[in-house]
Amino acid sequence: MNELLVRDATEADLPEITAWLARSQRPAATLPQTPDERLLVAEMAGPPSGPGAAAGRLLASVRLRPVIGVVLPRAWYHVGVTVHAAAELQLFHRQRTLLLGNDHTGASELADLVCAHEASDDGHSLPLAMQAAALREVLLTALLVMASRRIRYAGTLIAELPGLRDGAGQSPFWHGLGRHFYSGDPALAAIRHGDAWRCHVAALLPRQPVTTAFLPAAAQAAIAQVAPSSRLQCELLETCGLRYSHHVSVHDGGPVLEADLDALPAVTGSRSWRLAEGDGPGLQASICLLLSEDADGRLCALRAAVSPLGSRLQIGVAARARLRLAPGDTVWALPLQDEAG
């Protein structure tokens, strides 16, 4: 497996991330607006000569928002069930309902989890395993960022996944529900207002529960369905411990995954270490994902062989250099037991 490095995105990364986002009709990428918002990218690690040479190929990105919906309200539909039963008539109907609300207000969010599709400029597609590895790396790094600055993030973490689209890029969910309440083009609104368009459009959407039986079959079938192009992201988020929260996006019916941050293995299993002196891990080395922050607040994460030495952690010189750390500095480490050795 090629080595990956996760870092904060820079201005130069935005066009490529924007191109990835455009595949699922999402607004262009922008740099974080607040200190605790992060836009992380995974790239191929450069030659191990020094951090300056690590500008490899971009492979994946994720945005970490510390808190959502507190400035501009965010809305989702809660997917519920109402039972209409009459024993004498042998009627027992389970009706799904959609109720617009701001249920996840105040949560932290993993957004725009996307990856490259081409391996390189020759247009060959990036192997699925490579996509998965890159996505997993940015995802775990984001979780470590939250774990290492726990107080700055909420107890609940959500991730909203893109919903189904037809061949023409139209969402059957929007076609069956949203368009009756906003006749404008959602794609144009997204370009004009960015992510905020979903907040604006919520003001036009039904406030009362909508029985899904009133929607066309295609719209009903799209509720909480992930776009095939985002199925990998969905699986990785689930592997990290997020679960379908019975909420869907207002614009395309894509599922919202949710987790109690303090119950996630990446959070409970990771901790801070001080680096030991020395130039390599000992014989009992295992693989950890390591997260560092330099004096300028720039993040860097990579996986490396480590071994504990008393209350300190030993890592190799090359990894330490890439992390821009010196002995005695602190690092946040998550043991990756499934890939030990």
């Binding site: 209409h84 009627l91 109907h93 906003y182």
Partner: protein, 349 residues
């Protein structure tokens, strides 16, 4: 046709064959005229009990009336019926959909939409309900329908303590001859998976509330319904145009409520605001001849064997034949109101 040949009277048990004729001929949706001999008979019996019941009414009374053509070629003939249910949904809640408009606006998206919603409600529970209107087609263009529809309002005025001060009437909504109903297909069928006539059958004639409680309790966003169903909201079945137009002329409001099953309009009003009610007055009757300024509805003021007719005589005056038809003697009190319909005396009030 001379309007004085029509007599409005309490329906009697021996009117059953006429009711069977009406039921067989009336549209699907007039559930108060079921095509079932036993049920019709039961309704006639219940009506007779209602007329006979003591003054402190329970609210569950139904009152059925007929209009008779006394001048028909082969002898007097019952040609139409109308009824009153004292209190809508007496044993249960009376469900309707209330039309409401909500405006959703987003300044950022420069959009503002007026959204039509239907709210399941019990607003009309306890209202007096006008029911069971039927007139034979040959009599639609006579004054018999006016007598049939409006004389019952004089009954309500006379015995106001038996009724609510608010009144409503259901009209059948759009459906084809097989009972297919676009509103039901878009709304109710999604929760029952069967046609409306079938639902009526399996629920065994019990209150519609039983069905309503199986339907979604949250408002229906009309734009989500198929166009055909949207069109059907508040639309009349063609057979109901005549009784509906008479109710509108009376001053009933048709904009607020629709039937939860077929989407037909439900009109409602304050009893005291209805034209016939507001214009009616009590007076002692005198025998006499002559014609007044226009035709008048004249009704007795007794409950049992209630009768009414249309007279061309001045207010408070009836000829001998009319007195006999009403079973009155000179000096007794009547309740009367000007008929005053367009084309009758040339004026419209």
């Amino acid at each position: 046709m001379n309007p004085s040949r029509f007599l409005f009277r309490t329906a009697l048990p021996n009117d059953l064959p006429a009711f069977e004729r009406f039921a067989a001929d009336s549209a699907i949706g007039i559930t108060t005229l079921p095509a079932d001999r036993a049920k019709l008979q039961a309704r006639l019996e219940r009506s007779a009990q209602s007329f006979a019941s003591l003054d402190d009414s329970s609210g569950e009374e139904i009152y059925l009336f007929v209009v008779e053509d006394l001048g028909a070629a082969d002898g007097p003939r019952v040609v139409g019926t109308s009824g009153i249910a004292a209190s809508a949904g007496f044993h249960d809640r009376f469900y309707t959909y209330r039309n409401e408009m909500v405006v959703h606006a987003s300044a950022a998206l420069q959009a503002s939409n007026r959204i039509h919603t239907l709210h399941l409600c019990h607003d009309l529970t306890g209202y007096t309900l006008l029911t069971s209107f039927y007139i034979e087609p040959a009599y639609q263009h006579t004054l018999a329908p006016q007598l049939l529809s409006r004389a019952r309002l004089l009954f309500i005025t006379e015995f106001a303590e038996r009724f609510s001060d608010r009144i409503a009437a259901e009209s059948p909504g759009l459906a084809d001859d097989s009972g297919r109903c676009p509103f039901w297909d878009a709304v109710g069928r999604r929760f029952f998976d069967m046609g409306y006539p079938q639902v009526e059958q399996i629920t065994g004639g019990r209150s519609k509330a039983f069905i309503a409680e199986l339907m979604p309790q949250s408002p229906i966003y009309v734009p989500l319904l198929p166009e055909e169903a949207q069109w059907a909201i508040g639309q009349l079945h063609p057979v109901a145009e005549l009784p509906f137009s008479m109710l509108q002329d009376e001053g009933f409001d048709a904009d607020t409520y629709v039937d939860i099953f077929d989407g037909g309009p439900i009109v409602e009003a304050r009893v005291s605001m209805l034209k016939t009610v507001a214009a009616s007055s009590r007076m002692a009757v005198q025998a006499g001849e002559g014609s007044g300024a226009g035709s008048r509805l004249v009704a007795v003021t007794r409950r049992q064997d209630y009768r009414a007719l249309i007279s061309g005589a001045p207010a408070g005056v009836l000829d001998g034949a009319a007195l006999a038809r009403l079973g009155l003697t000179e000096g007794e009190t009547v309740r009367t109101a000007a008929l005053a319909v367009a084309g009758d005396d040339g004026s419209e009030q």
